[in-house]
Subunit: 205 residues, 2 copies
């Protein structure tokens, strides 16, 4: 039997984009830069945010920003990973119903809605980020694993890995953008539709 | 009330990639070239098929091939559209259970399996074809409309357009390739998993 991992390492395991531990001041510096970029994105939208503006907001030179992230795509990837990490932390240990403590069906419905909204918010960021494919894959892996876990908690029987993948597939960003931007479907209808789908899958025969 | 369309036009409506009518000899010439390309792809795989080899197999000069399709990507797009069109014709008017005549659940399960296999076969062709995004979208639109129709035939109630999109999402090529190539899941298990999903969605409460 393997000995358990120390808590700090255990908590890093399921989180996308976690890196090898940095020295504390370097990590703080990085967080300062990412928070500045995040704030500007919230204020202006991804496309309007320049490296100059982020450097100015963070109170550093532009050279520092490029040394830390390599490129605008690297910075956007950092912002995306940070947002994804915060969301995953909320799922793993935040307040219910997204976090632990609510009944599993309630948790699953909150999770789907939350992932849907996160994916819609992340769309432009993903397009601007370096290695978008790998990042989207990492995020969907976590999402699928969590849905599988909650299906188990719900007592659903069958091929749970398949069912989890199938329930996560309509939350894909490409599918959502098609529905929201091209077909003008309100997000509330998507939320209700996904909830209906999950309820059917989870129903006891 | 609108008068019905002539049969020939009606049948073209739902078919992806249909073009404005060509003169008969031009169409025959095009079909000869596409069939030659299709045969070579079946024999050698997409990546090994050159414009030279297709021209030689069809018994025409390479210039003719480029004039007709513009580029290798254009030719591959033509082969893809032809394959998609044949499949859609089989769904609309071919033998049951894919075509009309079988009970709706049987038809839906045959349809999902058939679309799954077609998507897996089309993967390399899509990567090689011009305008792959638009083509994939067209194919998925037909697929979603047909699933919606069969859910109606099954007496399923609820947001049928949403449920159809959700059932089609796990048949997406990216999802399938992840399952088959990276996670080594046998196609038979995917077929069974999708059938289970559909059966749950279609179950009467």
């Amino acid at each position: 039997m393997e000995s358990p991992l120390p808590l700090a390492e255990t908590r890093q395991l399921p989180v996308v984009g976690s890196e090898r531990p940095e020295r504390r001041d370097a990590a703080l510096n990085r967080e300062t830069l990412l928070r500045a970029a995040h704030e500007l994105i919230e204020e202006l939208g991804v496309q309007e945010v320049t490296m100059d503006a982020v450097a100015q907001r963070a109170g550093v030179g532009k050279g520092t920003l490029f040394r830390r992230f390599g490129s605008r795509g690297g910075l956007m990837a950092g912002v995306l990973d940070r947002s994804e990490r915060h969301w995953q932390e909320a799922v793993i240990g935040g307040p219910p119903p997204l976090g632990p403590g609510a009944p599993p069906l309630e948790r699953l419905l909150a999770f789907g809605e939350s992932r849907m909204l996160l994916n819609l918010r992340h769309f432009e960021l993903i397009a601007a980020a370096a290695s978008p494919g790998a990042r989207a894959f990492g995020a969907m892996s976590f999402t699928t694993m969590h849905v599988r876990y909650l299906l188990g908690e719900l007592g659903v029987t069958g091929d749970l890995p398949y069912l989890a993948t199938a329930l996560v597939a309509p939350l894909d960003i490409v599918v959502l953008r098609e529905q929201v931007d091209k077909a003008d479907i309100p997000v509330e209808r998507l939320r209700a539709g996904w909830a209906d789908l999950v309820t059917r899958v989870a129903a006891r025969p």
